[in-house]
Point group: C2
Chain length 380, copies 2
């Protein structure tokens, strides 16, 4: 950039990314997973950003995880050559899966005979062998096979035996760790996630079925885990940014949250108990954040000032419509005289993954200075 651009001068709404916090978060998780003896395959659905994915690889990540085939293709275009699509593979996208699998190490996930057979047929037609994980349910009960069911062993045998399939191992996601009420519950969920997977892998080995890898992960469970013994790979994603939800539930502190939305006050009528800003549902998402109503801060709490990471104690983005956000406080006095039209505010997102997916780019900041712009690959 030719001259110094300051946060205060940005057009709004803008998504700010504090690069120092980002680098600290990336390093800390890399160190944590290495210390626990596993490899790190971070989920890039949180950031959808090539620069951040490269930073994660430089700091020790081995491969990445994606949530859509479009993310996979976008990252593959930029040189990422080992990617897991950690959603049970939709059979409507198999043409794209085998096309990508010709070019890079592309790994998909199944938890049904139907998907396995369709995938194997597409792979054989393309004369490839598709790297495939078995998705296991470790207690979240969203997807994945029951690790204690006889039918699950049968499905693994099919994965191992079916031409066109390369069995990569077993994979799970303890999504319920997001809803744990405290660190003790997260530790319990993380331990159960590990124990369920390791027991299943041992059972398979005992039956003479090799299990190349055991993959687990979510930011809250990996942050809480005291051991990853028997696990080979961890797939947290949110930790690069965190968000108000993670801070409110104690997974991180507010100082650890790397992204915020910069908005301009666009209306404030005399005597009104709210101010209007130009950040609505298409800047923040409509994610309500913490499940505990006592911890809710509307669509996100306001931050004090243009830099720094202190929450305004009693001022939230209380409601949104498509492009309007209503800033309101616990009392009219919290608003009175503080939000002049033309002034700027920062809002902490409830759920950074959904907020980032609404923007085209990050404004990368150091303190109050804007040092770069990074594209968000949000194609669908």
């Amino acid at each position: 950039m030719t001259r110094r651009l300051r946060v205060q001068d940005l057009p709004t709404p803008a998504l700010l990314l504090d690069v120092e916090v980002l680098e600290r978060n990336v390093q800390r998780m890399a160190d944590r997973v290495a210390a626990l003896g596993a490899r790190l395959r971070p989920h890039v659905k949180t950031h959808k950003c090539i620069e951040i994915g490269r930073l994660q690889l430089r700091r020790g990540a081995r491969g990445i995880t994606v949530a859509t085939i479009v993310e996979a293709k976008d990252f593959a275009e930029h040189g990422f050559d080992d990617i897991t699509w950690a959603v049970p593979v939709p059979v409507s996208r198999l043409d794209e899966v085998v096309e990508l699998a010709r070019r890079i190490t592309f790994r998909v996930v199944v938890d049904s005979h139907e998907a396995l057979e369709a995938l194997a047929a597409a792979a054989r037609a393309a004369r490839i062998s598709a790297h495939t994980w078995l998705k296991v349910d470790c207690g979240y009960h969203r997807a994945g096979v029951d690790p204690e069911a006889v039918a699950s062993v049968e499905l693994v045998r099919r994965l191992v035996d079916t031409p066109g399939i390369t069995f990569d191992g077993i994979l799970t996601h303890a999504g319920h760790a997001y809803h744990a009420k405290d660190a003790a519950e997260r530790r319990r969920i993380a331990d159960e996630e590990r124990a369920v997977m390791v027991a299943f892998a041992e059972r398979l080995w005992a039956l003479g079925i090799p299990v190349p890898d055991v993959s687990v992960g979510s930011t809250p469970s990996i942050t809480a885990a005291e051991s990853l013994d028997g696990v080979t790979e961890a797939r947290p994603g949110n930790y690069v940014f965190y968000d108000y939800m993670q801070a409110a539930t104690g997974v991180c502190t507010v100082e650890d949250v790397a992204v915020s939305v910069l908005a301009t006050v666009i209306s404030h009528q005399p005597g009104a108990e709210h101010a209007l800003v130009d950040a609505g549902a298409l800047a923040m998402s409509k994610d309500l954040g913490p499940r505990d109503p006592a911890k809710r801060r509307g669509l996100g709490p306001l931050l004090a000032g243009i830099a720094g990471a202190t929450l305004e104690p009693s001022v939230d983005l209380a409601a949104v419509s498509q492009e309007h956000g209503i800033v309101a406080g616990s009392s009219a006095a919290a608003i009175e005289g503080r939000f002049r039209v033309g002034g700027k505010v920062r809002i902490l997102p409830n759920h950074s993954c959904l907020t980032a997916a609404l923007f085209d780019e990050y404004h990368v900041v150091r303190g109050e200075e804007v040092v770069d712009r990074w594209k968000i690959w949000r194609g669908r």
Copy 2:
């Protein structure tokens, strides 16, 4: 397209647009507003689509309304030359406003002295006169001046007198019509919206202040309005698509909803009371739909079959995470045996504006045939 593509064959998630329903909706609103004696300036934030904007103009719309400066620039690039940005103008975007106002008739909205002075200064510096509406509060209490306050007349005088400003008239949005419980309440809100604006315009005329235009609008209020006497322009937007929210509150029928999300069943475990589909928060949004809990259908009800417009009576998209959707019914029996992995479902969005903003394109369909693809200009 070289060969006939069928809805059943589309990769998912995909946003389907029934072009026959769209055309009927566009024509009906055009006829309605014409019959009420006003001009139609539709809000394109709902669709963000050049083809649909052109259809609206062909059917009699005069100019368009946008929600962001990026929408304004995208439509201007495609020949739309009379655009109102119906959000109180953020002073952080004034450079772009005056740049666009050099090329087309670009109208902005203010409700404060601060924004007026900043806009006028930017316009004078660019040697243009900025078309400007005064935003009036007709009872929604989100933005806009109090039409009965002395200060509001003073602000109009400033709009008329300030060099660099061309006063276009007064504008309002009865957003509370979306939350009305029935048609009678919508009629009352529509009548109040009209009455408030006409009374304010008459007061200004009586003071010798010409009011070139009186602009109102929202899909529910314009659909309910029995008169637009004294109003010159209406700005509904959602009516092109409608959605489950509008159907549930009686603004339209399910048959009037023009968009739905096609998804693939990606997981369904034996005995599970849910199936998993590949449409999550980034396909549907997290909009909860109707305020009345009795009318809620999760993140959207399922439609029966791949064509047609009949709701499944008891199966909804019950929950979403980023790219996963959980389909569940009022009982396990509603799910049992009906959602095989690889099968496809259609989901009615709660809020079509937010859903469309998450996709890159519409798959335009007639019955079960895909006849075209239209880009969604969702840049931020």
